[in-house]
Each structure stands twice: as structure tokens, then as C-alpha cells.
Symmetry: C2
Subunit: 753 residues, 2 copies
């Protein structure tokens, strides 16, 4: 079976392109000085062995981040980025994630706590390992790279070769394992990054004489005792070897066999002959300290192409693969990072085979560039990660300093736009908040359509979809349809006895005059149907009996829109009530763009100061909008006898807008604890009348401290898919993390925090 | 208390304009010759006393149609029209509704069946009436007009006068009753239309000597015995009189007191002093044979203004109102229809008072015209309905003939556009179907927003809203959001293992060429993303290995749209599966616009023939579209070597379009019973995957007789709010009344038929 011929002759390039990649990344939590923390794994992440993303590895301090399997490098890195950021956001203030494989400062043995798993076996297993291998080697972190070819490809190959699909899978993955072992030296050369360790790391006193490329992947790393020899020549042999060691207790369990290659997809390797290997795990990789999440996207891609080339190529000599491979990799791992590699020629041949494969299956132009880059690194050792790290170390002569400098930058980067989840920063902020909270709470997230803000959540086998942050299966279809239609909304609310401003819609002065008899002397507001920042609005707070004034107001509004509204005027202030699942979780007051004087600065300066708040930006990627200094603002100020250069007295407020929209620089002020409970209950009843689970109710209230009556409020609107960010990150007042309420609604069985 | 001053001085005109009007209309079911039917009340309408719209009055043959209370004449008539039409559509083919108050042909007494009510008391009460008044008078039909002033008006008046609101209500309605009795003669003059009856109607042999305006409202009508005298001078007196008669058994129950005015809103009049009269029922009106539903919209309006004027005006002399009123009305009722009325002067005064009231409260210009029209009729008796009816009678000398001619026209009109409900013909056909089925099944319908196809359904206190025929509370919000997004739909379906055509979206030839390696030699279809009647589509059924042909096809598609799709081609025919509540209720094949030859007619003539089907029109107000004879059709024919003047051989089919859309003249063919059940189950599973209750699934199937397999179908689309009319009125095959399924889904507790 010559795979590349089968692929070429049967047009299977498309299937060969479909892979699944998943990354597991370990990392020690450390303090500012590089010492490993003694604190517990953050409680906020819940039961660790149930968490799909954030667990612990050997030590309590060793966070293990696990991505979902993704179809491409970009998505894998995105998930890794997100998990990483969520982890950093939820660490204690003085904790960081150590960016190298080997800690710079190893603790005293007695200070190392094995991970405090919930299951007794998990703890016992770790204690057994401690006894056998000591604690220090277990403190080492790395990256595991999971790789799966498309099952459909396997099926097609099976059809073509008239073989059983399980046999095909096992054959392909076995061959891949041998090939990987044979050529992994190249990856160690290019990506190795564990040049040194403290003396106490070398428990038996034997240590390399100089810096090396990768202590971790060498015999100084976490390896089995020398008498454990497992052959990959056939699946039968592989199983026989391992189970033999387990039976005579040289290994406590199958998983105690450490190798850079591990077959996955069954709870015991004995099942592979029947079920087939599902995917393969490569455990070779040192953390790249120059990558914020331990590995760069281009290196995930490079490894992907490397693996695929090994599937594509026929084996040179199946019998010598492993032994030759171990020899080469040990040699490369223990050579000096700046030394030329002995196997450059073989490396060049392999990289050119990769380029050939890329061309043959029609992959990307950028892949060729990436391989060329690695060819350069092969020729120039100083370009490798290991060499670059060594140079940094030699500048400082202090690995803790080198690592912590990077760790701090990575944490700062993650926390800078704290309202955002940078991996998903091109989605809406509210969706970012839901994704962040889902990851934190161990709910699996898949972005289904990025542009459409469509995500899929999964927990314990149950799937829920969310669009735009709070559109879910919990709301009935008719509910947003009712709210979308203002006529229907008003009718339904009026029918249920809520106070809705009564009114008329007209499009000519004549029509408006016909209504004059009905509304004269009553408090009314005349406004364009589509209100555009308060233009064209006239309010007769005490009504008017003058047809002339009335006509003027009508014409004024008609200048702004072809349809205008003559509505009952309800005195008071407008508040937004966010109702979810029968409870008002947040109440917000929106205040027009404004500055408060200090007796010293000009309005222009005060605006600049206010705009420097990181919450302010375009109000899309940020929760609030920068205040502009435009024509409308100028006009608004001039009506107060002010201009941009006026200096306001201490505590004097100047409004730069009449309208209170956040999108024109308005302030959002949380009022949840200020508003009388009766209004919160009213908002819930209105939401119920809309048959809504999630509803943004706009109420006009004359006095929020006073209990609601039949006449001291008015319902302005009921909104489906109400905004959440203005409540989560208000300009002032307490944050209301509504994204958590959305998750609580969707997964009531989970203990969402 | 001078009401008109209170209204004027306190700006209550708007509240005075708010009224509720409801109509009850009785009518005998008759056969083609005018004889009353002996059949049962149609079973399809279910339990009659529970039906909000369609019941029976005295006789089994006497249909009583009841409108909901509405805010204006237009809506009242619309509801009456709809109920009328639904009734006519569901009568046996040979039955009609007699359009006059008095049947032309009275049956033998023994052939008259009292209404077969479900409750024993209802039947017994009717049998008591028969004994006391005989059967004939009970065969008379009329219109009852229910009228209610705005409760808020009453409340305001109570506030202003510092009186109790119950007292205000009772005072206003008592006064209105007296005023009505005083001036009802004018309505009898204008609207009276029962000039004669067969001799046997007059059981004691005494009869008028000539034609009269209104036998029904005269002493020959259905009136109490002469010694029953009830005074309206005060509520106390009114109650005392009636309860007195009931106590000494001169009346069997309160409701045996027949008067043209009845107070409503409580189960016994004894409750009025405490609860207040809610509304008032005027029972005066003869059926207008010239109005398809017994009364014209303008007359409902006129009566409305008449009533309101009586509220507006002060009483001349409370003590003489009733006696004078009875005298006048009896006189007018029994006078000859062509005779000048004795009270013309008073009539003119009243009509001018009406005009005055209209002007003072700011009503419509058209009201003045309407009143002027009545002034003309007052001056010229021959313009009245009674006179016009008499003239028709005198032409034929056969009232059965006169009545049946009208009854037939009314039934034909109702049935002509049988797929439509004419009262709601400006709404979508599917919404019309739901309204029609709701009325038939006794579910109360309210149109909330006509333009938005938004209706409200109510049955036994439970409310459901429906938009666009099948968007309801039963579907979850996320379901249409998934279906709306084709990317998400495909992902969800593929994830669940359904066969979705795989493919790529590209926008340049270059991008397309990058994919060539992946798709060469595979069956593919290349098409513009927004398909426009099949333009720009290329299908490689067996794939292509020629980059040249592939590029040609790509460029061809790119001419039609900036984004194009390269999709796996699935061979077969596309069918629409309509799934509702876990069941495929209809399967439809759409065939491109076509004609079938007969060896004689040209294609142009065949198209004309086909277009004459009443189902064909604009495909908005009709279920199907007329086939056009335009450029595209010409082109399509020319590709088959045909033109509009070609004569096709017998059974030869010519297609005038390539695409099968109904909107371009395509035929809809019901295939529900033809398709293998496994596809229907497949469609249900797809609908479930979309989490939908209502879903239109488009499947490509190679052979509908064959059981579904993993490869013999493809899912093209899943649609929310799928069209219903093409299934309800297909071009050929059985109708599937999906609107009934919608009602069954919404009201599972009802026995929807």
C-alpha cells in the first residue's frame, strides 16, 4: 500500500487535507520571582477532571490547558489563546504562568504538592510516580500535539485496497509512529528549548557538561527506566510489550509508558486491534518561551505538514527506524544549541520532501515559505528557538529573570483589554463575554459562524446554541416577533393593563390637525418616528391649546421624518431593565455625554481625560464610546453658553449631547440597587407579557425611590436581544455579569460561577 | 349632569370616540326554492353554545352569527363578512342563507325544528316559547347591535361629577335606552325591510291591509303579550317590573322580555345596581336584503352616530319618551314603504343634531355626507331600503324569487375565490387560511397587525399569536436563527450525519482553481450564490478533469454573482417536505412552468387555457402564478426548437422555464402519498436537528419509491416559516390543509377539524 499513490490516483487530496489537531499545554503557576506557587488550583474552575479546558497535570501548581480538536492551526491557536487568557484572568494577582518547560527555580521537594484531584486513584497514581521518578522531573512542562486523519480518508483507502478499515487505521498510525520516532530529531533541533536546569534537578548528580537543546526530550527528561523497551514494529508487538511490563509490575499502568508517541482513542491499548487507533498523540514539544501560549501558529502548521509528510512518504527501513531515531534525537537533544546539526543533509532531504508533498496535494503557497524558513534554521543554528533562548539567558545569566519578563508581558497582554477575549476580538463583546464565561465554567464552546455571532455550547452532552450573546432556545419564536413590531408590542402591553404612551402616527399636518381636538391641553410629545439624536422633538409638558404652536411642532418633526408620532408625554427618566428568566438582573441609567469640571481644565481637556478610559473606544470593540468634539457637541455646548475652551467650575457638569445613547459618548450608570423593587417586578411582568425569557424593558419613571403606581411610569419599549456590555462594564456603578445569567439559563444543572 | 358640556369642557372627545360595537345576525338556512332546510346545523362547527362566532337561534335552521366587539364599523363588518363567508363555505351545496327577516315560504308548523342545543334547558326554553307565541314568529330573523361607551369615559365623568362610576354608567345607559325608544322610529323608517308575510304567519287572522315598512318591529313581530309593560324611567323601576312578571310567571325568565333595548353585562338584571350596566343591545334591525351580510358598513356607522347623538342630547321629556316612542315607531313600522313619514320634521331636527354632534366632537367629514344621505331618504321614501325591496317584489310578485336571487349571488361571491377569505384578502393567503380555519373551529381571531400578518388566537382563555401563518410560540427562537444561516444549517446537519452537499464558496477564478485538485473528476455543480432562475449554473454530472472546462464554468457563474458555490452534485429531483410537530404532513414536487399539447392548440393558446385556472394569478393573492410569455420563456422554448405559435402533439410537454419556482408559473404537485415513508421520517429527523416544530425541508431524491440510504438523497435546505398555500391548493394532487395542523399544534386540547 503506497499511500501517496492511492491519494493521487483516487483524488483523495481533499480528504487528506482534512485533519483534526488538538493541543495540550502544561505550565507552572509561578510568583513574580519565578518561584512556583503553593496555592491551590483556582477554585473558580470547578471540578478539574470534569473541565474540558483547564485541568492540572502532575503538580497542584501545574495548569494543563486542553484545546478542543480543531480543523486547522488558526482555530487551535485561537482556542489555546482563549483558554490561556481565561486562566490568566482568573489567577491571583501575583501569579503568572511560567513560559518555559523547566522551572528556573525548583522548590524544595517537600514544598511540591501533587495535584489535589477529586478521585483518590488520581492522587495515588501521582504519589507512586513521585516514589519512582522523584518530584523534580515531574515539574517539567511541555506541549502534546494530537493529530487525526479524516476517517473518510481511511474508509476510502480501505475501499480501494479492499482491506478492513480498522487494519488500515492501525497500519497508517503505526507507520506514522515509527516515522515520527525516526525523524523527530528535526523537531527537537528546530523547537527544542530546555537548555539547562538547576543542579538539584539532576538527582543522581550526573548532568550535561554544557547547555543543550532540550533537556526535557533527552534522557534527562521524564523517561522510563532503561529496561523498558517497547517496539512499534507491529501493533501486536507494541501491545504485547506494554502489557507484559504492566503484568510483571514494571509499569503500574499502560499510561506509565512514556514515549513521544502515544496511540489514543480507547481506554486500553488492548482494544486497538478491534476498534482501531483513533488518533495519535505526540508528546515531544518543549514550551516555546517566545510564544505567548507556548507554541506559535506557524509551528503548529509546520508540525502538521511534518506529520503529513511522514504519512505520505514510504519508510526507508522499518526495522531500523526506532533505534536510529532514538540515537539521532538523543544526540540532537543533548547537543549545544549553537552547534551545527550532524544530520543536516537528512534534514534538508526531509524538508524538501515536505515541499514536494505540499505541491502534490495542492496546499498553500505560504506552506512553502514556512518550510523554507525552517531550511534556513537548519542551516543556521542561531536562528532556532533554543539558540535564541540561550542568548537571552546569557545576557542576564538568570533564567528566572528571562522567563518572568516574558511571563509578565503575557499576563499584561491578556489583561489589558479586560472586557475582551482577544482570541475572539472580532466578534461582539457580548459574545466574547459568553465565550469567556463558558470556558471558565467548563462549557465547551464552538464558534459556528463568526460573522453571525453564532456559537455552540456543550456541557455533559447537552448542546445549546447562542446567537448575539443572548438569543437562545429558551425564548419562543413569537416573543421577538412581538417585540420587533412596535404596534403589536403596544397592543399586547395595553391589553394587559400596562401604561403605554398612547398616541397617533401621522404623516401630514392635515392628519395631525384632525387629532388636535383629541390631544389639546394634554401633555404630549411630538417626534419623528425614527428619532435621530433628539432632532425634531417638541414636548408640551402641560399640553397646548394653541393650534399654531401645535402646527409648528408638527412641521418641525416632519422636517426630520416622513412619519411622525404624537404621543402622550410621560414625565420622568428612562431606565433600561434587563430581565432574564423572570428576574431583573440589572437596571441602567444612560446619561448624555458629559464632563464634570474641576475649576482648572477646559472642556476639551476634560473630554480627553474621560476618553483615556480604556472602556471608551468605538463602542463596538469597547463597552463605551469616546466623546467626540464635533458640530453637534459644539452646538449643544453653545446652548449652555459654553465652548470647547470653557473651564468649568468644580463639579459643574456640561452636557455635550442631548440624547443619552452610549453610541454618542453617553455614560452608563448601574442603578440596580437604587431602583425600588416594585419597578423590577414590573419589568418582569412586562417581560412575561412579551412571553420573553430575555428582555430589555425601557421604563420612564418619575421617581425610582417611590413604589410603582398605575400612573408614575410608562413603558417605552421592550427589546429582544438586549445589549449586555453596558451592564457588564458600566461607566459607573457595579458590574452585572449578565453573560453568566445567560449560561445559568441554558445550563441550570451546572453550578455556574 | 349635561354630558355634552362635560365632554366639551374636559376634552373628553377622544374617549367619547372610543366605542365598542358588536353585531349578532340571524338568518335562516334555505334551499334553492326559498324553503327552509330540514338539515342539522353543520356538524363541522362543533358544540354550538361554545362557538364564539357561529351558533343557532330559535330554530335548528336559524344560523346566528356573532361578531367580536370591535372599535369601528369597518372591523365589525369585516368580522361579520368573514363569519358569513366561513358559514356559507361550510353549508351543504344546495343550502343558502335567506337574506330577509321574514321567510318567503313558511314551513308547516310540524316541520319546524327548534334548535338542537346540547343543554336540555336551551331546548325546553324554546319549546315553552313555541307554546306561548307559536312557531312562525320565531322564524323571523334580525340584527342585534351591541354598543358600549369607553369605560375610561365613564370613569372621567364620575371623577368630574364626583359620582360613583356605577351610577354614572346606569344613568347614561338608562337615558340612552329611553332616548332610543323615543326616536327609534327614524331607524325603522330608514332601515325597515319586512313589508309582508304569508297569510299563515298571522295566526289569529288579523293582518295589515297593505305592505308595511317593518312587520318585524311592529306588533305583528315577535313581541310580548300586551299586558307586559316595563318602564325604563329608572333602573329600580325597570328591575322591579321585570322581576315582578317573572315572579308571577307571566314571563318564564328575564330574557323573555322582548324589547328593542336590552341591558347587558350581567347574568341577571338584579346585579346592575351594584355592578353597573356594561353595554346595551339594540334588537331593532331588520335584515337589509341588499347587504350581503344583512347590514351595510355605512348603516353600522349611521346607527353608531345615532346612538351617540342620543347620549349627547338632553332628554326632552323623560316621562313621555317611552309612550311617545312606542306610538311613533308602531306607526312608522306599519305605514306603507312609499308613504311620507308623519314625523319628518322631528327626523330632520334629529339628523341635524347628529351633524352638530359630529362637528363638535371632531368626527369625520364623511359622517356629514352620510347623515345628508339619510336626510335625502327622509325626504324621499322611495330611497329607503323598505321601498326598494317592495319595488323588487312588485316586479316579480314572488318574494322567494327576489330573496333567492340575492342569496345565490351572496353565496357565489363568497365561494368564488374559494382559496381566499375575502374580508382579509389583503393579508397573505396562508394567514387567511389560518383565520378561516380558526373561525370554523370556534377559535377567536384578532388581527393585531395586518401588514405584518400578525394575528391573535384565543380559545378557552388561552392566547396564542401567529405571524405569517406558522410562526408561533411553539418554535424556539434559536431554530429559525439556525435555518436562516445557511452556514450554520449545513454545519449542524453535517454534524448529525445528514448528507449535505459539500462545497466551497469562492469569489475569483484564482480561488476556484486552488480547489480544482480537490474536486476534479467528482460530480459537481457550479452556481452563483444567489441563484437567479437557473442562470449561470453548470453541472458536471460525472466530474471534469479539464481545467479549461472548469474555468469556463467558474467564469460563467461569476457573471451572475460576485460569490459562487462549487458544490457536490447530488443527482435526483428536489421535493419540499412540510414537517410540523414531528410529522411530515405534505410533500410537494415543483415542476417548471409547462403546457401539455393536444395536437390542436398553439403553446400561446395552451398557456392562456392554463392561466384561466382561478388558482393562477400573481401568486400572492392566488396560490399559483400565471405563466408569462416573455423573453425568458421564448428563449427556453427556442432551445427546444419551439416558439409561442408551435402546436404540440398530444401529451407532448413543453417547458417554458428551467427553474421550478411557483413564482414563475411552476406547477405544484402533491406527492405526499407517493413518497416512500422513510423520506418522510428523514425530513422529520432533519426538522428535529433544526430543533424546529415547523420546517420546510428540501430534499434531493433519486428515486422516491426507494427506501432512503446514506447516499441516495441530499439535504438542500431547511426553511423556517415554510409556505403553506402551495400544499393547500396544489396544481394537482390532494390538498393538504396545513393551516389546520398549525391550529392543532397551538390548541391540542381542541378537536380541530
Amino acid at each position: 500500500m503506497i499511500i501517496k499513490d492511492i491519494i493521487k490516483n483516487n483524488n483523495l487530496e481533499e480528504l487528506f487535507a482534512n485533519v483534526k489537531i488538538g493541543i495540550e499545554k502544561e505550565g507552572q503557576r509561578v510568583l513574580e520571582n519565578g518561584e512556583i506557587t503553593k496555592t491551590d488550583h483556582p477554585k473558580i474552575f470547578g471540578v478539574r477532571h470534569e473541565h474540558p479546558y483547564i485541568q492540572t497535570d502532575f503538580a497542584e501548581s501545574q495548569v494543563e490547558l486542553i484545546t478542543t480538536p480543531e480543523n486547522n492551526e488558526k482555530d487551535v491557536l485561537r482556542v489555546l489563546n482563549a483558554i490561556h487568557e481565561v486562566t490568566l484572568k482568573n489567577l491571583p494577582k501575583d501569579e503568572y504562568i511560567w513560559p518555559l518547560s523547566i522551572p528556573a527555580i525548583l522548590p524544595n521537594e517537600e514544598d511540591i504538592r501533587v495535584a489535589q484531584f477529586e478521585k483518590q486513584f488520581d492522587i495515588e497514581y501521582r504519589e507512586y510516580l513521585v516514589k519512582k521518578y522523584g518530584k523534580y522531573k515531574q515539574m517539567v512542562s511541555g506541549i502534546h500535539y494530537n493529530f487525526q486523519l479524516d476517517d473518510m480518508l481511511m474508509k476510502k483507502i480501505a475501499e480501494i485496497t479492499q482491506e478492513d478499515i480498522v487494519k488500515i487505521k492501525n497500519d497508517v498510525y503505526l507507520k506514522l509512529a515509527r516515522q515520527f520516532l525516526r525523524y523527530q530529531w528535526l523537531l527537537i533541533y528546530l523547537l527544542g528549548a530546555s537548555p539547562l536546569a538547576e543542579d538539584k534537578y539532576f538527582t543522581d548528580g550526573i548532568k550535561p557538561t554544557d547547555f543543550v537543546r532540550s533537556l526535557r526530550t533527552s534522557r534527562y527528561g521524564y523517561v522510563n527506566e532503561e529496561d523498558i523497551k517497547v517496539s512499534y514494529s507491529s501493533l501486536e508487538r507494541y501491545i504485547k510489550d506494554i502489557t507484559g511490563y504492566v503484568e510483571n509490575k514494571q509499569l503500574i499502568a499502560e499510561k506509565e509508558f512514556y514515549s513521544s508517541v502515544r496511540f489514543r482513542g480507547a481506554d486500553t491499548i488492548k482494544k486497538f486491534p478491534e476498534q482501531g487507533i483513533k488518533y495519535i498523540e505526540f508528546r515531544l514539544f518543549d514550551l516555546n518561551p517566545f510564544a505567548p501560549f507556548g507554541i506559535l501558529e506557524k509551528d503548529i502548521r509546520f508540525v502538521h505538514l511534518f506529520i503529513k509528510t511522514l504519512v505520505w512518504l514510504e519508510e526507508e527501513d522499518k526495522n531500523t527506524s526506532e533505534s536510529l531515531g532514538y540515537e539521532y534525537s538523543e544526540n540532537v537533544a543533548l547537543s549545544h544549541p549553537l552547534e551545527k546539526v550532524k544530520y543536516e543533509e537528512e534534514g534538508l532531504w526531509l524538508l524538501n520532501q515536505m515541499k514536494d508533498m505540499v505541491g502534490k496535494v495542492g496546499l498553500l503557497e505560504s506552506d512553502i515559505e514556512l518550510i523554507d524558513e525552517k531550511i534556513e534554521e537548519l542551516k543556521n543554528p542561531e536562528l532556532t528557538i533554543g539558540a535564541r533562548l540561550l542568548k537571552e539567558y546569557q545576557k542576564e545569566n538568570d533564567m528566572a529573570k528571562v522567563g518572568m519578563k516574558l511571563a509578565k508581558v503575557y499576563k499584561e497582554d491578556a489583561l489589558r483589554e479586560y472586557y475582551s477575549l482577544s482570541a475572539y476580538s472580532n466578534m461582539e463583546l457580548s459574545t466574547q463575554a459568553v465565550i469567556e464565561d463558558a470556558i471558565k465554567n467548563g462549557i465547551k464552546v464552538t464558534v459556528i459562524d463568526e460573522n453571525d455571532q453564532f456559537i455552540r455550547l456543550e456541557s455533559e452532552g447537552r448542546v445549546e446554541y447562542v446567537k448575539n450573546g443572548n438569543m437562545t432556545s429558551k425564548d419562543s419564536y413569537i416573543s421577538p416577533l412581538i417585540m420587533e413590531n412596535k404596534v403589536v408590542t403596544k397592543k399586547v402591553l395595553a391589553e394587559k393593563g400596562f401604561r403605554v404612551p398612547k398616541g397617533y402616527e401621522v404623516s401630514t399636518l392635515e392628519e395631525a390637525l384632525q387629532k388636535f381636538n383629541y390631544i389639546k391641553n394634554k401633555p404630549i410629545v411630538i417626534k419623528p418616528k425614527s428619532t435621530n439624536f433628539g432632532l425634531g422633538i417638541t414636548i408640551f409638558k402641560k399640553g397646548t391649546s394653541s393650534v399654531e404652536n401645535y402646527s409648528k411642532a408638527i412641521n418641525f418633526a416632519l422636517k426630520e421624518d416622513k412619519d411622525i408620532l404624537i404621543e402622550e408625554f410621560i414625565e420622568g427618566t428612562e431606565y433600561r431593565f434587563f430581565v432574564i428568566e423572570g428576574k431583573t438582573e440589572a437596571v441602567l441609567l444612560r446619561v448624555p455625554a458629559n464632563v464634570v469640571g474641576d475649576g482648572k481644565h477646559t472642556i476639551r481637556e476634560l473630554v480627553e481625560q474621560k476618553n483615556s478610559d480604556s472602556l471608551r473606544g468605538d463602542a463596538k470593540k469597547t463597552p463605551l464610546k469616546k466623546i467626540e468634539l464635533g458640530e453637534i457637541e459644539k452646538l449643544q455646548l453653545s446652548e449652555q453658553g459654553l465652548n470647547f475652551d470653557s473651564i468649568l467650575a468644580v463639579n459643574e457638569v456640561a452636557y455635550l449631547r442631548e440624547n443619552s445613547n452610549i453610541s454618542t459618548g453617553g455614560d452608563s450608570v448601574d442603578m440596580t440597587d437604587e431602583v425600588h423593587d416594585s419597578y423590577k417586578e414590573l419589568a418582569v411582568r412586562i417581560s412575561d407579557a412579551m412571553m420573553a425569557k430575555v428582555c430589555g424593558v425601557d421604563l420612564i419613571i418619575s421617581n425610582i425611590k417611590e413604589e410603582v403606581s398605575a400612573t408614575n411610569y410608562g413603558v417605552i419599549e421592550a427589546n429582544f436581544n438586549p445589549m449586555m456590555m453596558m451592564h457588564i462594564y458600566p461607566h459607573s456603578g457595579r458590574s452585572r455579569r449578565l453573560s453568566l445569567n445567560v449560561l445559568k439559563m441554558l445550563f441550570p444543572e451546572k453550578n455556574i460561577k
